[in-house]
């Protein structure tokens, strides 16, 4: 077995009693005891996540904006104020999703992109290949030496300000989905939980001390298990589950992130226009007892679908899922889900299921 990759916080996780698992080749904490308690901790107070396995990629040079206008399905022209961030997918010519990402506009000659861990090498190769063809003057540099710590929850920002002197003045007025630099740190008001908070990039060497300082200020560590139930409740897609290279953004609940209106061309646009979606992503709430899981079949009056992300919602204390179903399925419809040898009743609901500490379904 190849040895697992480690983040700079590996020893800290073990010291805090984490249960470690192989997460796409990374040795990561799945929980530090109870996943459900960690979930509630973030919804009700705050917690910190080691997301150093995610990759930071800088696009630097003249013409960076024009390059990203072509590379990404969302339109970077929406980014006019330095520090502002945009969520986007990056598509293949056939419209399949290579990855989803956040792009930060720092300067006209510097955009920062954060991509998923499992797809990072593939993303980087694609970006470099596209740059070589369309914008050879650009440098595309990834930063595996940067760690990333997410602090999330209603009290997250206050805790960060207490733990990190000088950060309050800089980040107090940051609007959601924007970032600011603080020395060698990069503070973004972004996240993957449906709660307020920060994602903070910093040099790997500084990460253990910052993590320990947050812990001293009462911030509890949260594993990747709770990260998944938090993002599912918040209705946020997970790459490889809710979309992939064979399924486009329009069939993955991401039409809001694809700019088809402007005359701008981008990779994958022609394919999206040529093939209007016949499927869509909806939320499911399980009415019977049980737990919805990925890949279970959904039976509706309009045909079959499939669960792309299913789990138990600690906030609602019911099972929820995202499912890809035929376009005709509507909010409020009753559907059946095949769970082992049974057909269980579920209702089609609007998502997000929960955000900002509250259930919404």
């Amino acid at each position: 077995m190849p040895s697992l990759k480690q983040t700079p916080l590996n020893a800290a996780h073990r010291a805090m009693g984490a249960k470690m698992v192989d997460f796409g080749g990374w040795d990561m904490p799945v929980n530090y005891g109870s996943q459900i308690e960690e979930h509630h901790q973030v919804r009700n107070d705050c917690g910190m996540f080691d997301v150093s396995h995610m990759r930071v990629v800088d696009v630097k040079g003249e013409g960076a904006r024009a390059f990203l206008r072509h590379l990404l399905a969302n339109n970077v022209d929406k980014l006019t104020v330095p520090g502002k961030a945009l969520y986007s997918t990056m598509l293949l010519e056939n419209g399949g999703v290579i990855d989803d990402l956040i792009v930060y506009f720092m300067r006209e000659d510097w955009f920062r992109i954060v991509v998923n861990a499992g797809t990072a090498d593939n993303d980087l190769a694609w970006m470099k290949q596209q740059a070589a063809q369309h914008a050879p003057q650009l440098t595309i540099v990834d930063h595996p030496e940067l760690a990333m710590i997410a602090v999330q929850g209603p009290n997250a920002r206050t805790k960060v300000w207490e733990a990190l002197p000088g950060s309050k003045e800089l980040s107090e007025h940051l609007i959601p989905f924007s970032a600011v630099e603080m020395g060698s740190m990069f503070i973004a008001r972004t996240g993957y939980t449906g709660e307020d908070g920060f994602e903070i990039m910093l040099p790997a060497k500084a990460a253990p001390f910052f993590w320990a300082t947050l812990a001293e200020h009462g911030v509890k560590p949260i594993g990747l298990g709770a990260r998944d139930t938090l993002r599912l409740e918040a209705g946020m897609n997970l790459y490889g589950h809710d979309m992939n290279e064979r399924v486009g953004p329009l069939e993955s609940g991401l039409a809001w992130t694809v700019d088809l209106k402007s005359p701008r061309d981008f990779i994958g646009k022609a394919a999206l226009l040529a093939h209007p979606p016949t499927l869509k992503l909806v939320g499911l709430l399980l009415l019977d007892r049980g737990v919805l899981r990925d890949h279970q079949h959904v039976h509706s009056a309009h045909g079959e679908g499939e669960i792309t992300s299913g789990s138990f919602s600690p906030t609602l204390e019911k099972s929820i899922a995202l499912a890809r179903v035929p376009n005709g399925v509507q909010i409020g419809d009753s559907v059946q889900v095949a769970v082992r040898d049974k057909m269980l009743a579920a209702r089609v609901v609007k998502y997000p299921f929960a955000r900002n500490g509250k259930g919404l379904v």
């Binding site: 249960k19 799945v30 929980n31 109870s34 996943q35 459900i36 298990g225 139930t229 007892r289 049980g290 737990v291 899981r293 789990s311 138990f312 600690p314 099972s319 082992r340």
Partner: protein, 129 residues
């Protein structure tokens, strides 16, 4: 938590307690609940169901995953623990108290052939490598 010495075990992580009347009480081990994490749903077999040894007969689901529970020996289900419907997390907090079902074995001698605590611990240790 150590495995109680008065119980028998299976390699598939069930524990089995023989009651005074010969009935068997079945649950999952501390090691199994630890692997699965926070329990959120238990589906136990209904009373009267005939079971063959090693047959899938119950399901425990944590936030993370679903796992089958297997019949330790052949026999007939006599009761299911309905308290777990509302408190599946009891399996996490008290794995050797939170039983899942009771059964009457076809042959009491089959129980003697199950693993003792030491042999079960060896199974757990071997999985860790």
């Amino acid at each position: 938590m150590s495995n109680p010495g008065n119980l028998k075990y299976t390699a598939s992580h069930e524990w089995v307690k023989t009651e005074a009347d010969g009935t068997l009480t079945v649950g999952i081990t501390d090691h199994a609940q630890e692997l699965l994490g926070d329990m959120v749903f238990v589906e136990a077999p209904t009373a009267g169901r005939k079971l063959k040894a090693k047959e899938e007969c119950a399901v425990v689901e944590s936030v993370k995953a679903a796992a089958d529970v297997y019949a330790p020996v052949s026999g007939t289900v006599t009761a299911a623990n309905s308290e777990l419907d509302g408190t599946p997390e009891a399996i996490n907090s008290d794995p050797y108290g939170a039983w899942i079902f009771k059964m009457k074995p076809d042959n009491a001698a089959d129980v003697a052939a199950l693993l003792d605590a030491t042999a079960y611990q060896a199974v757990v240790d071997s999985e860790a490598h």
